[in-house]
Each structure stands twice: as C-alpha cells, then as structure tokens.
C-alpha cells in the first residue's frame, strides 16, 4: 500500500464514519419513546390524492362512499354538490375556503394534496402541511379540555394515545364553518383516526367521523401515505392571488 492508497483508504473511512454517524443521528433525532413506530417524516398521498381520471379540471370527490347524512341535510348537501358541479360545467366555479386561502382545518388537512410532514416528539405529534403552511398539533395522553375551554377552531383539540403500534387520535372542537367537502357538522362531531405503519415507509390512517346530530352512521374512509424524506416542503404564503371573487359567489381570473 503506497501513500496514495493510504490516503484513499483514509478518505473512504472518513466518508463511511460520517455516513454512519449521520444515520445514527437521524435515528435518535426522532426522540421517540417506549419503542413506538417512527412516523416522523415527509409523507405524500399514495396512491395520489387525485383519483384516477380526475384531472386538475375536476374537483376531487369526497372519499369512500360519502357521508350518510340525516334528512334534510342529505338533500341539502346533494343540492349544494349539484350546484357546485353545474357551476364547474358552466366554467364559473364557486368560491370555497381554499380559493380564499383559508386553512383547510380538520380533517381536510389529512387529505394532503401537497405533502405533509409529521414530527413525533415526546408528548406531541405535529402535522405540518405544505398547503397554506398549516400546523396541526396532536397531544399525547392529554385529556380533552372542559367544553367551556374548548373554543371551536380550525383543527380543534386532538387527544391521542398509542394502542400497541397504532396511534389513536380523537379530535373535537372544530368550527362549524370548517367543513370537509362542505359536509355540515355540529359541536358534537368527533373525528377518530387510527394511524398504523403498514410498511416501514407506508402509513395508513383510518378516519371515522361521528356526529349524532347530522350523520346516521359514521363517515369512514382511509388515506395512505408514502414516506418521501428527499422532498423538501416549500413555504406557501398565499399572497399572489389572481382570482377575483365576484358578488355572485363565482370566481374568475383577474386579467389586466
């Protein structure tokens, strides 16, 4: 082994050492406790949030079979859906919360049209969404606040616990005007989520929305995500809107 070989070997050793150190650091940085599954990471919907055949020109349909609403809410919701579709067909889409750049809130944030980042730290799970730079906090082993202390909000209060390898989250206190696919809900709505790593890089959440005032049966559906830690989430400040919201509730493109 001449000097060149030794130098080459030393360089290779240094690279390997740094690589191993980086990997070890990455594994400990998640600060997990009690051997829980590691769900820290950047996640993108898989398969895509846009079902097959749905293009940018269409609205994404509600997941699963849609809500089993009580009457008259079922008829009202269907009429609103038809109105929205007719407006799309006419090329004059109706305004919605997203067009106004309002946060999606719960459970829409979990739809993850753009990737989401989940951070698992002691006592808390944080969901950071690229879309509108939303932040959702989920508290581990914390009781719900008293009803008087639970002011309605976009994300409500999320209380979670680990049940084996499943993260069980319950959320209450969502503002009535924060709606998932325009489905009405009451103060009594509870969103239950069960998160499970079905493969090291695949996360599944089974969502069940219960609302004794509006729903006959819980609205159940599933989202799956694929880990993509190479993806860096961009900032998303919604300050370059071209669309104009007209007085009739339609949206058009502001042209010069």
């Amino acid at each position: 082994m001449d000097f060149k070989d030794i130098a080459r070997f030393a360089l290779a050793l240094t690279i390997c050492t740094e690589w191993v150190a980086d990997t070890a650091l990455a594994d400990t940085a998640t600060a997990r406790t009690k051997g829980e599954p590691n769900i820290t990471g950047v996640w993108e919907r898989y398969p895509s949030a846009f079902p097959e055949g749905v293009t940018a020109f269409d609205d994404i349909p509600p997941p699963g079979n849609g809500p089993d609403l009580k009457e008259p809410y079922a008829s009202q919701w269907k009429a609103q859906e038809a109105k929205r579709q007719a407006a799309l067909d006419a090329g004059t889409p109706l305004v919605d919360a997203s067009t106004r750049c309002l946060p999606e809130g719960m459970p829409t944030i979990m739809q993850a049209i753009y990737p989401i980042q989940i951070l698992q730290t002691p006592g808390q799970i944080t969901v950071l969404a690229e879309l509108f730079m939303q932040t959702r906090r989920v508290y581990i082993d914390q009781p719900f606040p008293a009803p008087d202390d639970l002011a309605p909000s976009y994300y409500g209060f999320s209380s979670a616990h680990w049940h084996g390898d499943t993260l069980v989250v319950k959320t209450r206190g969502i503002r009535k005007d924060v709606q998932f696919f325009e489905i009405p809900h009451s103060d009594a709505m509870t969103i239950a989520e069960h998160y499970r790593l079905i493969k090291p890089n695949r996360l599944r959440v089974d969502i069940s929305i219960e609302d004794p005032v509006y729903l006959n049966t819980p609205y159940r559906f599933t989202y799956e995500y694929k880990r993509n830690d190479k993806y860096r989430i961009s900032e998303y400040v919604c300050d370059h809107r071209l669309d104009v919201i007209n007085s009739d509730g339609t949206v058009s493109l502001g042209v010069k």
Partner: protein, 120 residues
C-alpha cells in the same frame, strides 16, 4: 447500494409528484380544457414567482394576456426557477384559454428564447 436504491426510489417518487396536476387552490373550471391557444414570440411583461400560483403576463401586439401557472412547488418540479423569465424576454406559450373569452388562461407549456420547453 441500498442508499443508491433509495435515492433512485426518491427520484422516482419526485417524477411521480411531477406528473400531478395539483391545482389545490381553486378549480380549473374557468379554463377551457378542450381548447388550446398558442401565441408565438410574445413579450414577457411580468413574471411573478409565488403561491398560490406563479403567473406570467405577456404582451402580444396590443393585447396583454394573464397566464396562470401552478404553485411554486409544482413549477419547481417541472424545471422552473424564480429567475427563469424576466421582463422583455420573448417566449412562445400554449395555454388553456378562459371560458369567458378574456385574454388569459392556464399555461400548458412555454418555449423559452433558447428553445427550452417548460411544462407548467
């Protein structure tokens, strides 16, 4: 090798993300998906890099067209950068025109002065 495999996988995922339409902010229904308009050698008046949409304002003769593009992350994935265009650049554009006939649309592809084609 495992690392390389993972990297290749990540690249694959990026390519998959790239193919997404992802117009999250508002419906695309104001644009005519069945029609494409083309303008050759128009002058860039303004190029704005931001969310919810990047947009390009171009001038063709005396008409000013407003062209909406994707979000900054969609655009980055198809090769656009914050400094891809500047005022005065000459480009060709293909876009889905507005239903209401106003001068504007959703950009589909732009051909830059050096011949580079970028999907929006």
């Amino acid at each position: 090798m495992y690392r390389i495999g993972k990297y290749a996988l990540a690249l694959g995922i990026c390519a998959a993300v790239l193919a997404e339409p992802a117009m999250a902010h508002h419906s695309f229904a104001m644009f005519d998906k069945n029609k494409l308009s083309e303008l050759k050698s128009v002058t860039v008046v303004q190029y704005t890099w931001g969310n919810p949409h990047v947009y390009i304002i171009v001038k063709s003769d005396e008409t000013t067209y407003t062209l909406e593009c994707g979000s900054i992350s969609n655009m980055s994935e198809t090769g656009w950068k914050f400094n891809t265009l500047k005022g005065g650049d000459k480009i060709d554009v293909v876009f889905y025109p507005l239903h209401n006939g106003k001068p504007g649309g959703a950009l589909k592809v732009a051909t830059l002065s050096d011949g580079k084609k970028l999907e929006a």
